[in-house]
């Protein structure tokens, strides 16, 4: 990502951001709300359009080209704050619709794949329920499994636990930690500092559309260089 900028109207959300994320790297982005971290992650799979600069995913540049967008998205999985499961489909259908429609898998193979990932997120018994019959934590785990069914190389998480009750946050984080241990490249926007400490290779702090600090987790938490980072950590770790 090179010199990326984006404006909402005249408001500059992303200010000339450049960064590299290596294969297998696990990156956690944090920062106060409105700092642009969600926008940044959404630019990576073109749910938002950047207006300046270049974004490359696996050597493919994100441009207006529909072909490029599709090629980039086929490498990316995305998990949303509000799950965004398809409420009119069962859990199993939520998982198989992508593989059957987009990857043109046979129904039977897609269902096997879906059950494999449902077992991974430890809710295979919910396969035939509808999303709204599940708890928030279960829904988010289904959403993770849905993305995994597309067999992406990179997973994007946009505040995956912010809409959850405390006791459900753990089950989702556990799933994400297992995923990290399997070697998946992950970019996670979250305020879960415990998660950042355990799995992240590097932690970013964003503020006002800039990346203020980028460091390994030990250094980030123990010895932050910037005033801004210290303030943020004070705020968030105080209670």
């Amino acid at each position: 990502m090179n010199g990326v900028s984006k404006w909402y109207g005249t408001f500059k959300v992303l200010n000339n951001i450049s960064l590299d994320i290596r294969k297998g790297e696990r990156v956690v982005m944090c920062g106060p709300s409105g700092s642009g971290k969600s926008t940044l992650i959404r630019c990576i799979n073109r749910l938002e359009e950047h207006q300046k600069g270049e974004i490359f995913v696996k050597g493919i540049e994100l441009t207006d080209s529909v072909k490029n967008i599709a090629a980039v998205r086929s490498n990316l999985g995305m998990v949303f704050q509000s799950f965004n499961l398809f409420p009119h489909l069962t859990v199993l259908e939520n998982l198989t619709i992508g593989p059957t429609l987009v990857r043109q898998m046979k129904r039977k193979d897609a269902e096997e794949l879906a059950m494999h990932f449902l077992r991974k997120v430890r809710i295979p018994e919910q396969a035939h329920k509808y999303p709204l019959q599940l708890s928030g934590g279960q829904q988010q785990r289904v959403a993770i499994a849905r993305s995994l069914c597309m067999e992406p190389e990179i997973m994007l998480f946009d505040e995956p636990t912010s809409a959850l009750d405390p006791e459900m946050i753990k089950e989702v984080l556990d799933t994400m930690i297992e995923l990290a241990e399997s070697g998946m490249t992950m970019i996670v926007v979250t305020h879960e500092m415990g998660f950042a400490r355990t799995v992240a290779d590097s932690v970013f702090l964003m503020a006002d559309g800039n990346i203020v600090e980028r460091a390994g987790p030990e250094e980030f938490f123990a010895n932050p260089k910037h005033e801004r980072t210290r303030n943020f950590l004070d705020q968030i770790l105080k209670h």
Partner: protein, 366 residues
């Protein structure tokens, strides 16, 4: 200890209110002097009206008579007019000795529709052959000209079958048009959006009668000489696009109710616009606007009666024509009540079916 606590709690039931018809009446009808007087007054008026209707419709009515004089001598309704005139009312000007074909038409139609609305039959393997057979059989029955059936041109069709054809045709053609218009109106492509808006707004701004008039009298002027489009087809398509313009706005409402996250989730799975629309957005949008869509379907059924102005004899127009008979003319109320009953049965069937579908949707069955 814990257990006894639970037991104690379970005896703590909500207070019980006296219920039953007597208590209900006391609370709702006779709670004060004013209420009581009002209740008695309304009861008296209702009884008077009911008594009048009962006398007219049942006690003093003439049920069977081949001579209208018997009806004139009686004080009540003349239901005999229906026995006398039901065939031209139901079947219009269709040749009298061929009416059995229309009975068969209606039977096949009702059977096909009932089967199509049953969830157990919802698969392409059942519905496609069923409709292919039904449409084929119904076309042969109506037109004839093969298998020794005399040919009957569309200009002689009439009555209930004509109403059914107009209604079913306009809904079957109209729904896909409505979906396309609704999608067009929300399309990111300016041309598609502009065309949809112009189409919807210009047709919605015009009375149905005008559209029918254009279809019948003006449209043929634009066709090259010698080319002709069947009048019944033109009328059906006119009602269909009129229906579609209203239905499109209903569906647009459903589309707007779908949260942005649904589009984003589909995009992140790399689904195309059409895949997203067909599998994610439309199924949810149509469920949301089901009640409002039912409304327009029922309206479309009654809109078929507008064809009176361009000389098609649907069931209502046929009745008007039949009741020109000077012998029976004065009993037009009974004849129209009969037709109203038919409309009512169809309308109630539609709305009760729609309610059932809504309840299926609510429990996630479809």
């Amino acid at each position: 200890m814990a257990q006894s606590e639970i037991l104690e709690q379970s005896t703590d039931l909500p207070p019980v209110f006296a219920s039953g018809p007597v208590q209900w009446a006391r609370r709702h009808l006779f709670s004060s002097v004013g209420q009581t007087l009002l209740t008695l007054f309304v009861a008296a008026v209702s009884a008077r009206i009911l008594w009048f209707v009962l006398n007219w419709a049942v006690l003093d009515a003439v049920w069977f008579a081949t001579d209208p004089q018997a009806c004139r001598d009686a004080a009540g309704a003349c239901w005999a007019v229906i026995a006398e005139k039901h065939r031209p009312i139901l079947f219009g000007m269709y040749p009298y000795d061929q009416h059995w074909r229309l009975v068969l038409f209606i039977v096949i139609y009702l059977a096909t529709v009932v089967a199509s609305l049953t969830p157990a039959c919802w698969s392409r393997r059942i519905l496609l052959p069923l409709w292919a057979f039904a449409v084929g059989a119904m076309t042969i029955l109506m037109f004839g000209g093969v298998f020794g059936l005399p040919y009957v041109p569309t200009s002689e069709w009439g009555g209930l079958p004509l109403t059914i054809i107009l209604f079913t045709g306009s809904v079957l053609f109209g729904m896909p048009i409505a979906v396309v218009l609704a999608l067009g109106r929300r399309s990111p492509l300016p041309v598609a959006r502009g065309l949809s808006v112009i189409f919807i707004e210009s047709l919605r701004g015009v009375p149905l009668i005008t559209i029918l008039f254009v279809a019948v009298n003006i449209f043929p002027l634009f066709l090259p000489a010698g080319m002709e489009v069947n009048k019944l087809l033109r009328i059906t398509l006119s009602i269909a696009v009129f229906f579609a313009c209203y239905q499109a706005e209903v569906i647009r409402g459903g589309l707007q109710a779908i949260p942005r996250g649904q589009y984003e989730a589909a995009a992140s799975l790399n689904m195309t616009y059409w895949q997203t629309t067909r599998r994610i957005i439309l199924p949810q949008a149509l469920r949301i606007c089901l009640p409002a869509m039912t409304n327009h379907v029922i309206a479309a059924m009654k809109n078929t009666s507008f064809v009176i102005i361009i000389g098609l004899f649907d069931i209502l127009t046929a009745t008007t024509a039949v009741m020109q008979d000077p012998l029976w003319r004065q009993f037009y109320i009974e004849a129209y009540l009969f037709v109203a009953l038919i409309y009512l049965v169809f309308g109630l069937a539609l709305s009760s079916y729609a309610r059932r579908v809504e309840s299926w949707v609510a429990v996630g069955r479809i």
